[in-house]
């Protein structure tokens, strides 16, 4: 796992904040430097290009997410509990650092660069795998109903959660993400959990 200097982390977080507030189009080296009270050339001491800032930014958050969710999974018992824990962890993280959402859910904004859009699809695949494994385990153990297939359930669950996050973002973070997310997950679980 790659390490970042303090300055690099600062730059990554400032870039994330700017993307969240004003969109990718507004992320310029000039703006970013001003946010950090640095000159433009100073940024190039820490990243060799603007693209590398974006690339590192994605890598940074992917690593964080992977480590966090792996820890969550290893401390859960049954399937339902695990799924609740996974989404709770995600929602807590988004709620604490809203800007992350703009980057992790950014299918369209990095479209212009192959390497970056690939990083974004890694995020999706990662989440997909966690949920698929959970559903499979739950269906095998008889905890979940088998009426709907693993892949269909995975799409419904991730789709419902993403939709909740999106609505929260569009509301200007004024809705209660954690509560709303929980409601959606419980709604779905009530339809598939055998009791």
């Amino acid at each position: 796992m790659q390490k970042y200097t303090d300055r690099q982390t600062e730059i990554i977080e400032a870039a994330t904040a700017r993307i969240d507030k004003y969109g990718i189009q507004n992320l310029t080296i000039k703006n970013l430097a001003q946010d950090l009270h640095l000159s433009e050339p100073a940024l190039y001491r820490h990243f060799k290009s603007k693209n590398e800032i974006l690339s590192s930014l994605l890598k940074y958050f992917i690593e964080e997410m992977k480590n966090r969710l792996d820890r969550v999974i290893n401390s859960s018992n049954n399937a339902g509990e695990e799924l609740r824990a996974i989404f709770n962890s995600q929602l807590q993280t988004f709620s604490a650092k809203p800007a992350i959402v703009s980057v992790l859910f950014a299918e369209s904004i990095f479209h212009f660069d192959k390497r970056l859009s690939h990083r974004v699809s890694i995020v999706m695949d990662l989440m997909h795998d966690y949920v698929t494994n959970n559903i499979r385990k739950g269906q095998d153990s008889g905890h979940y109903s088998k009426a709907v297939s693993v892949s269909t359930l995975t799409t419904i669950i991730i789709g419902g959660m993403r939709m909740t996050v999106l609505k929260w973002k569009l509301s200007g973070h004024n809705s209660n993400l954690i509560k709303d997310g929980k409601t959606i997950l419980e709604g779905i679980l009530s339809m598939i959990e055998n009791n």
Copy 2:
């Protein structure tokens, strides 16, 4: 309802295609003019600015969607059938003109402009209203189960469908959108339809 000249429609569709292929960042007046085999100033004969092209583009597709779905709704009987018809119409449209998806599902790409991002949220609200009305009608008539609330079901349904469209887009339109979308919708309906 506003009318567009033939040239304006051409420009709108060329812009949509370019956004779909290369992202918003690649939509420049120069590129757009080249796509249409025109000079740059020629575009300004038809729209007074680049922003107006984008603004008209969104308006154009919102109108199309509204007209189309209103027609669909007026020719359906029970709730389940109506919901199937709504999503079938959406999926057929996306499948026939894939580039539209990049614009209608573009929460983040128009972030830089208030007027444009407002237009995007209109698209979401529109779909939300159609589905909410359907669920309410279905629950009132006893067609759908009342175990899960209207708003939660709406989020799950729209979320699941959007997720399907997103996966289709990320696959480079290689998956079968219409079939996959139908599978998701039937999966959800199987959990809520009383028979």
